[in-house]
Amino acid sequence: MFWKKFLHNPIGMIGVVVITLNILMAAFAPVLATHNPLTINVAQQSEEPSAQHWFGTDEFGRDIYSRVIYGSRISLYISLFSVLVATFLGVAIGATSGYYGGWMDNLIMRVMDAIMSFPAILLAIGILAVLGPNLSNVVLALGIVYTPRFARIVRGSVLSLKEKEFVEASKAIGNGDAYIIFRHILPNCTAPLIVQATASLAYAILAESMLSFLGLGAPPPAPSWGNILSDARNFMMDNAMMTVFPGLAITLAVLGFNLVGDALRDVLDPRLK
């Protein structure tokens, strides 16, 4: 039922195609790239696009096309793992908080509110300023920042579900708390979780590019899209094309997840149609 609806949603399908292309680009980066993304070539600095260098070269003579292709790896890696971290933490925190209730619930949710009191990117910047910029710290920072959104969704579902009769019945036959949470409660909140996760993937790609642009993401010379733009910024006057392509790559990647996110919301949550 769900899949049938989703497959008939043209917006979602366009999104799926865009995401698939992005994943293929990351998986087959060595095949698709025409040059090594890290090789410095002093003889070919800041060149315009040509037959040899499709997107031109940067100030170190590195091939921008190959760097953009490899950049999809970093962007997908960060977005996927940060959303996984956020989902895992969010589900664990939200389920515990909602199921057991009481003062612990109160305290946990106040902390979640406090995290959400920061503009998301700002808190990530703060965490990275302290931990230092590298890939796993970016995953951790974005994971922490997005956790409360997942925790709130799960807690909300748990609160409404735990009073239901089937949970009561499961308790009565002697099932443990963990069993009830995993078997009866969590399966009932997957729909909003999937919608949130897709939206978060789009945000995470944007956030990663912003963080790298500020020098807080993957450390240079890693070819992340934000890094390429940050390099391009200093040589924009000489080589404008250097700025165009990484930005387009980010836009497409984010667009793919946003399209799928929209389609999922339409299919899973008819109220919002």
């Binding site: 106040r110 902390v111 509110d113 406090a114 995290i115 009191s117 920061f118 503009p119 998301a120 990117i121 700002l122 808190l123 910047i125 703060g126 965490i127 300023a129 302290v130 931990l131 230092g132 789009a202 944007l206 590019s209 912003m210 642009f213 500020l214 020098g215 807080l216 733009l229 391009a232 910024r233 924009m236 006057m237 404008a240 700025t243 165009v244 990484p246 930005g247 980010i250 836009t251 984010v254 667009l255 946003n258 399209l259 929209d262 919002l272």
Partner: protein
């Protein structure tokens, strides 16, 4: 009403303390000895000891927190390691730039979002509506800072319509200052414009179905009046909450926008301070921006009742 406002403000206190605690804990997340990290590898043992003492790092954690919180309550955000100036003074100098930028971005977002969202709802499921949906989904997908770079390239460097370097404050020379702000504000506000426009569209769609709108039409009111006076006022309440939440996106995005356009605001100050490992400034800036965000969302909550009187002030 007064009781509601007071209650809302009292409710704010635990949130503020927790926000402060998180920012306080940030600096203690530095791997190893914060004092040694701040000073870098060339520091002598005495230097490290003196910084440790200056930051109060030699005392127990809870004591440090209480002292820090007490100082905050007096408006003392610490002292910059680099400039030796009180952090709050530097924030005070730079925040007006950020406030100008985010306010202009907000104005831009609303000017674009309200009419387009309403029109999309009125023309629901027509080509105009589809065009609107395509526009908004692009709006939330394009990275604003990249758009900023492109705008800088096209409108400042190539066409020369806007200055590409330097800065003039709007409060000193309004029109000249505005020229420096237009591109940053538009590229920063675009994301919010798209999010708010979609919210306006969906809340308008919900409201336009209701019977009181049909009733207003049946009374013979003009379509313009039905939409602006009857429908929009009710559709605006959920939109307002979105605006409050999205203001955080503006404050966070301002950090990157200010870096792209070299605006001397709080965001750029934060980034520069991170590079210099000036942690008291990093702490101060992040805390200050979070406080502004909390404050704005409290105001939004209070305004909510005006647009949706069903919210009881009790």
């Amino acid at each position: 009403m007064l009781k509601f406002v007071l209650k809302r403000i009292i409710y704010l206190i635990p949130t503020l303390v927790l926000v402060a605690a998180l920012v306080f804990l940030l600096i203690h997340m530095i791997p190893g000895d914060p004092a040694a990290v701040i000073l870098g590898p060339d520091a002598t043992a005495e230097d490290v000891a003196s910084v440790r003492q200056a930051l109060g790092l030699d005392r127990p954690l809870y004591e440090q927190f209480v002292v820090w919180l007490g100082n905050l309550a007096h408006g003392d955000f610490g002292v910059s390691i680099h400039s030796k100036r009180p952090v709050i003074d530097s924030i005070g100098e730079r925040f007006p730039v950020t406030l100008c930028l985010t306010t202009l971005a907000l104005i831009f977002a609303l000017v674009v979002a309200l009419p387009s969202g309403v029109l999309a709802a009125v023309y629901h499921n027509t080509n105009k509506d589809y065009l609107f949906m395509i526009g908004t989904i692009l709006g939330v997908s394009v990275p604003g800072f990249w758009l900023g770079l492109m705008a800088l390239l096209v409108f400042s460097v190539n066409l020369g319509w806007f200055p590409s370097t330097g800065f003039v404050a709007m409060w000193e020379e309004f029109w000249e200052g505005l020229r420096y702000m237009i591109l940053p504000a538009i590229t920063l506000g675009l994301f919010m414009a798209a999010v708010v426009a979609r919210m306006v569209r969906s809340s308008m769609l919900e409201v336009l179905r209701l019977e009181y709108v049909t009733h207003a039409r049946a009374k013979g009111l003009s379509e313009w009046k039905v939409i602006t006076k009857h429908a929009l006022k009710n559709a605006f309440a959920p939109t307002l909450t979105t605006i409050g939440i999205q203001y955080g996106m503006l404050l966070g995005g301002a950090v990157v926008t200010e870096t792209v356009f070299s605006l001397p605001g709080l965001g750029k100050y934060l980034v520069v301070s991170i590079y210099m490992r000036d942690y008291p400034v990093v702490q101060g800036c992040i805390l200050f921006i979070a406080l502004v965000y909390v404050f704005i969302n409290t105001i939004v909550d209070l305004l909510y009742g005006y647009f949706d009187p069903r919210v009881q002030y009790s």
